[in-house]
């Protein structure tokens, strides 16, 4: 498997096929004697923007502090949870429990559900 070609930027889905973002970064452990190993998949604003420019990453952290679900740390998911790597990457997790849907739920609760006809995201669970 080639990490950049087959893993990075691919779409992530949970065990119920719920879309939970893309692989925005990868955490690697480099030991002195052992081979480098991927330990975690990273999802989240600052990691993503860091790939473009560190200043954008700082900006995204600052914005996340004042608006939204107030999560400034990126979400990390252990590599052991990877179920399959195909067109998408399937994870053996429940998307809601990982924090990957924090923004989705926050916007649903604070904006969309307050507009008539927006529906309720919890009702339909």
């Amino acid at each position: 498997m080639k990490l950049v070609r087959d893993v990075l930027d691919k779409k992530l889905t949970d065990r119920e096929k719920c879309e939970m973002g893309r692989v925005d970064g990868l955490l690697m452990r480099v030991g002195e004697r052992s081979q480098p190993r991927i330990t975690h998949i990273v999802i989240g604003g600052s990691t993503l923007w860091m790939r473009v420019h560190p200043a954008l990453a700082r900006l995204s952290v600052r914005l996340a502090r004042i608006w939204g679900p107030r999560r400034t740390e990126p979400i990390t998911i252990p590599w052991s949870r990877v179920e399959s790597v195909g067109k998408d990457i399937r994870l053996d997790v429940k998307a809601r429990d990982t924090g990957a849907l924090d923004w989705e739920l926050w916007i649903a609760r604070h904006v969309i559900e307050r507009i008539p006809g927006g529906g309720s995201e919890e009702e339909e669970e």
Binding site: D9, R22, G117, G119
Partner: protein
Amino acid sequence: MKKILQLTLGIVTSVGGFLEIGSVATAAQAGALFGYKLLWAILLGTICLIFLVEMSGRLAAVSKHTIVEATRERFGFPFFSAVMLGMVLVAFLVLVAELGGIGLSLQILTGLGFRWWAVPVSLAVWLLMWKGTFSLIENGASLLGLVTVSFVVAAVKMHPEWGSVAHGLIPTVPGDQKAKYGFVAVSILGASISPYLMYFYSSGAIEDKWDTSYIPMNRIIAGFGMTFGGFLSMAVLIAAALAFQPRGISVEKFEQAALLMTPALTHWGFYLFALAMLFACLGAALEISLSIAYFFAQGLGWSWSEDLTPSRDSRFSFVYTAIILVAAVPLILGVDPMKVTMLSMALTAATLPLAIVPFLILMNDPSYLGGHRNGWISNSVVAIVILISFVLAVISIPLQIIGG
């Protein structure tokens, strides 16, 4: 049977979805200023669009990826973010132009100024997306857009000299007003080759769950639909050439363009123009707002579908809601939609390489398309037209700014 129905619907959709304020304004201006001389630009743009739309459908049918998804995965986020920035900015300007086009049409039909229409129009467009399903938007708006076929009726009734029309299909360089000629040619190319149409089409193919069995149908839809659409644009140019050029009227304002069909259809033509533009711009405004929301959602891996209730894909719904509200602001402030139109069409042409070059690379990547990847004909046609558009844009936009 189901496929035949889809086929007809697909063709109708592309005919109805082709014309919008950009193609009408640029074609009308071209006809008024240069007679039939710029018909070649519509021909070139349409041929290129046929190939691009066919490719967009093929990519989705074979790889199950939309263009946006494949771009992010193949090229990574840093490059993707540059494409996204460019495409979203240009699409936003086009959205302002389309909303303005609806407002200007309503101004003709009701007498109330377009600025007053900015808020009701944005709300109406938003409500259609909020409540509607993908097929309602795709088919409904486009069926209404078929009123634009009246342009063909008007053009034929004005009895153009078909010999000179045919001459216009071959590019020529005019004696004077070279800069203006180049700028209008670029705007026509930008109006015909709209990247948002490709994003919308490939997202539609995924929403409709296309597989490789749809490849022949996709080819027919792209070919026939875009050809008819191109004919409609040409009809606008021909009618404008006959109605305006002999009298030396240039089309700077929407009300002037609305006189396009009056020689053939008298005062009915004036209102018919407004009605046709109302529906055409409405369809385009819906497609563009959705395309922008698709861009964010697909690029960042959010759930997206126009068929879900808004709270099920809240970030997707939030993007189109926000974008449509923001797009109303320049119109409330009284920015001239016709000026935005010409500017956004030229900018579309200038930014085409940003959208099309990575797309061509994808279309040649066996890991996405396997045996269905592009042949040399489609590669060269698209590459040549995009190169021409880009060179013309780089030369004529600065000249237009200095001259204008």
